[in-house]
């Protein structure tokens, strides 16, 4: 088995009386694409936020390559990249400036050549000096991915990267994710699209009401369920969990 890149141990996150994550433990291994599936409000983004530093877990520990995300945050954040779910952009700066700024923020000396490479990779070179607000939705999303890669993270989180994007762009993004994995980046991706997980993931985790219901390799999961689709398996898991809660 490949070495562990991410280890979450008994992670709980509470917002007042509401428990968003409940005693969640999970390991992600080097070089894999791990897809985290779950309905809205399941806790997918909360888990990613706790790992990347956007939020803090209430209990439990999270380690990235053996470093604690709270105690050694300066180290873990250099190892991790985040593509957030919501498109965000700084209206004051161009794509080129945004990439240069993000490099500096991540502790890497701003490197124009690296920024040019990223703009080329994500087909944004024509927009390098445009105001970011003038970019299309797809371009903004690609810029978000480029921003998350400026420091060449070992572990990349894609929080619903294809939400609300058209089929063509979705396929482009899938290709980019596969290219990144081929280049050695470990990827954790959250998605609503079962098809996306089916196509990209090596292993799949299903989360619901803050609990991890299942973690299994994609192939063994499909084999074990006698050729049933991943969508059927997912729906059954969620129903079973809801039934358990209702009981």
């Amino acid at each position: 088995m490949k070495p562990s890149v991410l280890r979450c141990s008994h992670v709980t996150k509470r917002y007042g009386d509401f428990t968003a994550l409940e005693d969640l433990s999970l390991e992600v291994y080097e070089g894999e694409i791990f897809a985290l599936l779950g309905p809205n409000g399941a806790g997918k983004s909360t888990l990613i936020h706790c790992i990347t530093g956007v939020s803090k877990q209430s209990e439990g520990t999270i380690e990235v390559l053996g470093f604690d995300t709270l105690r050694d945050f300066r180290t873990t954040r250099r190892l991790v990249g985040l593509v957030p779910q919501e498109i965000n952009y700084d209206p004051f700066f161009t794509p080129m400036e945004n990439l240069m700024i993000n490099m500096g923020l991540m502790g890497v000396e701003p490197d124009r050549e690296r920024a040019e490479d990223l703009l080329r990779t994500f087909a944004l070179e024509d927009k390098r000096d445009a105001y970011t607000r003038t970019l299309s939705g797809g371009m903004k999303r690609r810029l978000l991915i480029a921003k998350a890669l400026v420091h060449q993270p070992r572990l990349l989180f894609l929080d619903e990267p294809t939400a609300g994007v058209d089929v063509e762009l979705r396929r482009e993004l899938w290709q980019e994710v596969e290219d990144l994995r081929a280049a050695g980046t470990t990827i954790v991706l959250t998605t609503h699209y079962i098809e996306e997980a089916e196509r990209l993931a090596d292993r799949i985790g299903v989360i619901h009401n803050g609990e991890l219901l299942l973690v299994e390799g994609r192939e063994s999961l499909l084999e074990r369920h006698d050729g049933r689709s991943l969508e059927d398996i997912f729906v059954e898991l969620i129903r079973r969990a809801d039934g358990r809660h209702a009981a």
Partner: protein
């Protein structure tokens, strides 16, 4: 300390206000020029002298201070609050930086903007009157520490604010009245009791008079008392802003 991130954030903040220079630099200059015209030229011709100096000269340090206080506050508060609203605050939250890099870069940039606009106000003032520079040391002290204090206050306000209305509370309902009642346009020696005593509770009074002493050598309160008030205010704001950022107040939910 992540020096690369610190330098990047500082330059980014400078470029942010430079990109909208009409709003951040030119606009305060126009406002202050109008103050000079109304208070300095129109009223000044009737008031003649105050604290032994010509009235138009008397208002110069106060107007410089008022500009620096407002601009340093607005620089940090608007930048940080906009990041919260447009979601780019995530870039800061996931970066390998702590409270110290954020404080130093944001406050450093706010001080730069304040010094630039304050200097331009002085240049405008030269069109209306000359003025001495009594004590370079005191002038520099108040020019650095007061904008730093209000830059920190801007960070505190931006962290606390949840909507644009919240952000407008301080400049409109606190800063402006305190500045006008802080001796920018008059000496508190002209006020009867209890207003004179009440005025001495206003920290802006010490900041305005500190800079006035640096330039003109006259002040309602001693420069040492002013320096003590400024340093205490600075330390309080530094502690509050530092703790809020360290704890991720309203940031790391």
């Amino acid at each position: 300390m992540n020096r690369v991130a610190l330098k990047t954030l500082f330059i980014k903040e400078i470029r942010r206000f430079a990109k909208v220079w009409m709003q951040t630099v030119l606009s305060p200059l126009v406002t202050t020029s109008l103050y000079f015209l109304v208070f300095g030229v129109a009223l000044g011709s009737r008031l003649k002298e105050i604290s032994g100096v010509p009235y138009i000269q008397f208002v110069v340090p106060g107007l410089v201070m008022m500009t620096m206080v407002r601009d340093s506050f607005l620089n940090t508060s608007s930048s940080l609050f906009q990041s919260k609203i447009n979601g780019t605050i995530t870039d800061l939250l996931v970066a390998p930086i702590g409270a110290s890099e954020i404080l130093l870069s944001y406050v450093g940039a706010a001080m730069c903007r304040a010094v630039i606009t304050g200097s331009l106000v002085l240049v405008v003032a030269l069109f209306f009157t000359w003025f001495p520079l009594h004590s370079v040391g005191w002038a520099i002290f108040f020019t650095l520490f007061v904008p730093a204090t209000f830059g920190l206050l801007g960070i505190v306000s931006a962290l606390w604010a949840e909507k644009f209305d919240h952000l407008a509370i301080f400049p409109n309902f606190v800063l402006l009245p305190l500045a006008f009642l802080g001796g920018v346009f008059y000496s508190i020696d002209l006020l009867p009791e209890p207003w004179n005593a009440i005025s001495r509770l206003n920290p802006l009074l010490y900041m305005v008079n500190g800079l006035r002493f640096g330039f003109l050598g006259v002040a309602d309160v001693s420069p040492v008392a002013s320096a003590v008030v400024v340093l205490i205010s600075f330390m309080v704001m530094l502690s509050v802003a530092g703790i809020m950022l360290q704890r991720g107040y309203k940031l790391r939910t």
